[in-house]
């Protein structure tokens, strides 16, 4: 079960700041709801985990992140994340390529393409919601990323600053909240009032 999602997020900061954050894999991971890097193996390999909470049940996906390419000239990064739920019931992988494009005027855009595939129970039961879920996760990622770049300040490069408590990334992906935002998004699109970015 595989889906491809493409998204573009406007960022209220110069391209150089955004790129500085994008190069920091730990920081990027933390912009994904529920995700974190737990260990760096070498320059291009990390171990990480994603915690998902569906009501009272929590699942943890553990896996590997491989940075496939980093190109500072075109401000482009490609990475692959692959993991299985520790209970061994589902697997997920994502090929992500992201690029920062200068929009002038001290602003930029983050463009991302993600190929997400899932297997196991998640594919069997969650398959029909894959597109919407991936879309929502990326949207949250974009929002977190934008806030972090803004918080890092125009001049700061490389090291994430201490962000305000309210901006701290979520420590787990709350699937019910996610579901709600999907349903809300669905009705909004029906009413034609809002359209998802991208």
């Amino acid at each position: 079960m595989q889906v491809t999602v493409e998204k573009t997020f406007p960022i209220e900061a110069p391209a150089s700041s955004a790129w500085a954050l994008l190069e920091d894999i730990r920081a990027v991971a933390e912009c994904m709801p529920g995700a974190e890097v737990t260990e760096q193996i070498d320059e291009h390999h990390y171990k990480g985990q994603v915690r998902v909470k569906v009501g009272p049940a929590a699942a943890t996906f553990k896996g590997d992140i491989e940075v496939r390419s980093v190109d500072p000239d075109s401000r482009q990064i490609a990475l692959t994340g692959k993991g299985t739920d520790v209970k061994g019931t589902s697997g997920a992988s994502m090929d992500l390529s992201a690029r920062v494009v200068d929009a002038g005027d001290g602003r930029c855009e983050l463009t991302g393409t993600a190929e997400v595939s899932v297997s196991g129970k998640m594919a069997t039961f969650g398959g029909r919601m894959m597109n919407q879920v991936s879309d929502q996760i990326l949207r949250q990622f974009g929002a977190n990323f934008g806030e972090r770049v803004a918080a890092s300040g125009d001049s700061a490069a490389g090291e994430p600053s201490s962000e305000p408590a309210a901006d701290r990334p979520q420590r787990e992906l709350n699937a019910l909240a996610l579901l709600w935002s999907i349903i809300a998004g669905f009705f909004r699109s029906l009413l034609g009032r809002g359209k998802s970015t991208g």
């Binding site: 297997s119 594919a123 069997t124 039961f125």
Partner: protein, 801 residues
């Protein structure tokens, strides 16, 4: 024998053959007093829960049981490594292959059994199963059988690498199982070369599951003190299972007892031996306590016997008058990860060669290749191992397509090709001897009943208005009652069946058979056979099946074989008893046997009114006053090896209306005429036909077990899997003709699978008949509203003008 009102009344009292009496088993069931496997509770019983693979194809790097074992109430966690010392991590399949009991180093299909947890109750077991940590390395997956034999295809069965035989002949690729050919290739080629018209069509019988109400399960109980093993099990073939368990366990067969209690539907889903049974038995032997394992619905739909996944290419050669000259079929059979089909040893494509159908086709050739894919094994359900549904689907679709090609009426083309009544016994081009049949009479009767001409007229009028109405016809021939043991065996055991009848001194009867009812009403039907043969009321006849320690050895119930084989054994055993009773009667009446005649329930001395002995009197005498030299008692056993299969047939008509805009199909009418020879209990037959038609409707109109490209099973719960209820199920009209089987003691043939086998192509033919008028040649099932809408949309038929 003059039939007086008095003898007629006596005969009616017996409620024997031909009586539509109510089922003897129903009072129990409708009061909720059935006794299914999950109702069995033994002291000290533990529960098993499976850890299953989330992946379609993966290597197992490691399994960590610690967290599961630490959970209070957990007694054991077993993996393949634990079964290895016992050589039980693999088990033989009924098709000569082997299947992993618990995954040995790799998993080959999603939901494959990887480990089993044994715990105090089913909740602890389920919790602990989630705590077993398995580290997998995913491997490339094959779900499309057409890619299975690509040169670079990943190897699914590493255990078979280097073996050029997986139990069914030579194989040519690591993912190849067998090649099977039947028929005269040269004559068939010639027929195609000479033909005025040829047609070719790819047809798919997709993967479905019969989804019995009760899932599979067992309670295994090893008594350490006595050294014997009892297993209560959902099995359609308990005696075969006993033999398999004996071979696997090394216990003497006399110390293994398999009991099939009440079974909530089988449909072939309960023929096989599943890993759950094996691990429960092992756990019970190891722990010395009874162990229960019951499948969840998802487990049942995902891992136990499915049906079909048959990719066929059919070709017909014919003349311009629609007379078929040749049939050629090429099949790719997707058997999943292990060849756990249950066909007779010599028939890797089952009885598929019945695919010439009801038609006199002079030349035919069939080629079948079986392949492995990363899908669940065990194509046994719904006649999948016997492949009759597929065969009938093929020929019934092809003849419709030929009619379309020639612009000929779909009933007319059948009349032109039918095997005629005087041609029986008929030798088919693919080697079968059809026992009896009268196809034209059956079809004529149905066409008159539904006013076929009127329907065609209405259809033309609707076509003019742009409305879609379809008329499906199916005139199938079935092949049931496996089978002659010279042709059919399972694991070397010939496919006979058996009956043991004992008449008690006061004239009531206990009888046991080697078959096992799963809802077919054996307790009623067999009792009616004995009632007529022995003149004892069927109410006084008790039928028992399913306990291997009491019933005679039999091959079980599947493939509509109970009446053709078990019913024949019952009649033959009863006749042995009657022959002995005749000797006792002659002795008591002091006449010779030749002076006696049988009348309903007694022997009478010819020409001497009043000189008679009833069966009840003879039963009493059998235990105290027998002729000199005769042994006491009145009982008999018969192991019946049928001389041939039986060939029931039928003519079905289905009328559908299709909504152009939504794709919804409404079945307006379904008329089913079945000929199963002698009708033992017409009401049970009708019930069987209703059930079979409902299942045919389910398969044709909605059921599908779909795997995505990653080997993930989509739709293995009732969220997606279509099981029709009273809301969706159409109304059935049933009818019959009677053409008896010349070789069956009662003239009876099997019936239960006919409506399934004949029903599916009838629905498909109806939907396609609607489309044919608009230029669409063929659409595969399932005909869901979405699938039908896609066809409508692709052809611009859903446009509002």
């Amino acid at each position: 024998m003059a039939s007086t009102a008095e003898t007629v009344e006596r005969e009616q009292r017996l409620e024997g053959v031909g009586c539509a009496r109510k089922r003897k088993e129903d009072p129990r069931f409708i009061q909720g007093k059935g006794n299914y496997v999950d109702d069995i509770k033994l002291p000290g019983m533990l529960f098993a829960a499976m850890v299953r693979s989330p992946f379609g194809h993966a290597r197992i790097r490691s399994i960590n049981k610690e967290a599961a074992l630490a959970l209070p109430g957990v007694h054991a966690v077993l993996t393949a490594d634990d079964l290895k010392p016992l050589k039980l991590h693999w088990m033989p399949t009924l098709a000569g292959d082997q299947q992993a009991v618990l995954a040995d180093e790799k998993v080959c299909f999603q939901y494959q059994e990887v480990a089993v947890v044994i715990a105090d109750d089913r909740y602890v077991a389920a919790d602990a199963a989630e705590l077993v940590e398995v580290d997998y390395e995913e491997l490339p997956v094959i779900v499309d059988p057409k890619k299975a034999m690509d040169p670079e295809a990943p190897v699914i069965r590493e255990d078979l690498v280097g073996k050029d035989d997986a139990g069914q002949g030579r194989r040519s690729h690591n993912n190849h199982i067998f090649t099977w050919e039947v028929g005269d290739r040269a004559a068939t080629e010639q027929a195609f070369t000479d033909a005025e018209v040829t047609i070719r069509q790819e047809l798919l019988n997709p993967r479905v599951h019969p989804c019995p109400l009760e899932t599979c399960g067992c309670v295994a109980s090893f008594d350490k003190a006595r050294g014997d093993l009892t297993v209560y099990m959902t099995s359609q073939a308990p005696h075969v299972v006993r033999t398999v368990v004996t071979l696997l366990s090394g216990l003497p067969e006399s110390k293994v007892r398999i009991v099939s209690p009440d079974i909530g539907g089988g449909f072939g889903n309960k023929v096989g031996v599943y890993p759950g049974y094996v691990v429960s038995i092992v756990a019970s032997i190891v722990l010395g306590r009874p162990v229960k394992w019951i499948e969840s619905r998802i487990d049942n739909l995902s891992t136990t016997a499915f049906a079909r996944d048959y990719h066929m290419v059919g070709e017909l050669a014919a003349d311009r008058d629609g007379r078929i000259k040749g049939l050629r079929v090429n099949v790719l059979a997707d058997h999943g990860a292990f060849n756990s089909h249950a066909q007779p040893t010599k028939w890797p494509a089952g009885l598929f060669s019945i695919c010439t159908g009801s038609y006199d086709i002079p030349a035919a050739h069939v080629h079948v290749d079986g392949v492995y894919t990363n899908k669940a094994p065990g194509g046994v359900a719904y006649r999948c191992s016997f492949r009759v549904t597929e065969a009938v689907h093929l020929i019934e679709r092809m003849i419709d397509l030929l009619a379309r090609e020639l612009n000929m009426d779909k009933a007319e083309i059948r009349f032109r090709n039918f095997i005629q009544p005087e041609q029986f016994p008929y030798q088919s081009a693919l080697g079968w001897e059809y026992d009896s049949g009268d196809y034209p009479t059956a079809l004529k009767k149905v066409l008159e009943a539904v006013d076929y001409e009127g329907l065609r007229k209405e259809q033309a009028e609707k076509r003019a208005r742009g409305e879609l109405m379809g008329i499906g016809i199916c005139t199938f021939t079935e092949i049931v009652g496996a089978g002659p043991s010279k042709a059919c065996d399972i694991l070397g055991v010939g496919m006979f069946d058996s009956a043991e009848i004992r008449v008690h001194p006061t004239g009531s009867v206990i009888a046991r058979m080697g078959t096992i009812t799963q809802g077919q009403g054996h307790q009623t039907t067999y009792a009616q056979i004995i009632a007529s043969e022995l003149g004892i009321p069927s109410d006084d006849i008790q039928i028992e099946e399913g306990d291997t320690s009491t019933a005679p050895y039999g091959l079980g119930t599947y493939g509509s074989r109970s009446t053709p084989v078990g019913g024949a054994a019952t009649a033959m055993a009863a006749r042995k008893i009657r022959a002995k009773a005749r000797k006792i009667a002659a002795h008591l009446l002091e006449v010779s046997e030749e002076d006696l005649e049988w009348e309903v329930d007694r022997f009478k001395v010819k020409g001497l009114p009043g000189q008679e002995k009833t069966m009840q009197e003879l039963a009493w005498a059998a235990y105290n006053d027998v002729p000199e030299g005769m042994e006491m008692g009145l009982e008999a056993v018969d192991y019946y090896d049928p001389p041939n299969f039986t060939f029931p047939f039928g003519a079905y008509v289905c009328v559908v209306d299709i909504d152009r805009f939504t794709g919804e199909t409404h079945v307006r009418r379904f008329y089913a005429l079945d000929d199963c020879g002698t009708r033992i209990n017409p009401m049970i037959i009708e019930g069987q036909i209703h059930g079979g038609l409902a299942e045919a409707f389910a398969v044709a109109m909605g059921q599908l077990l779909h795997y995505d490209e990653g080997g993930n099973l989509q739709g293995n719960s009732f969220l997606d899997y279509f099981v029709p209820t009273a809301v969706e199920t159409p109304r059935w009209e049933t009818d019959y003709t009677v053409t008896t089987s010349p070789h069956h003691p009662l003239g009876a043939k099997g019936v239960a699978e006919s409506p399934h086998v004949g029903g599916i192509p009838c629905f498909t033919n109806a939907v396609n008949d609607a489309f044919n008028q608009f230029g669409v040649t063929h659409v595969d099932m399932p005909h869901t509203a979405f699938s039908t809408w896609k066809t409508l949309h692709a052809n611009g038929l859903d446009k509002r003008s």
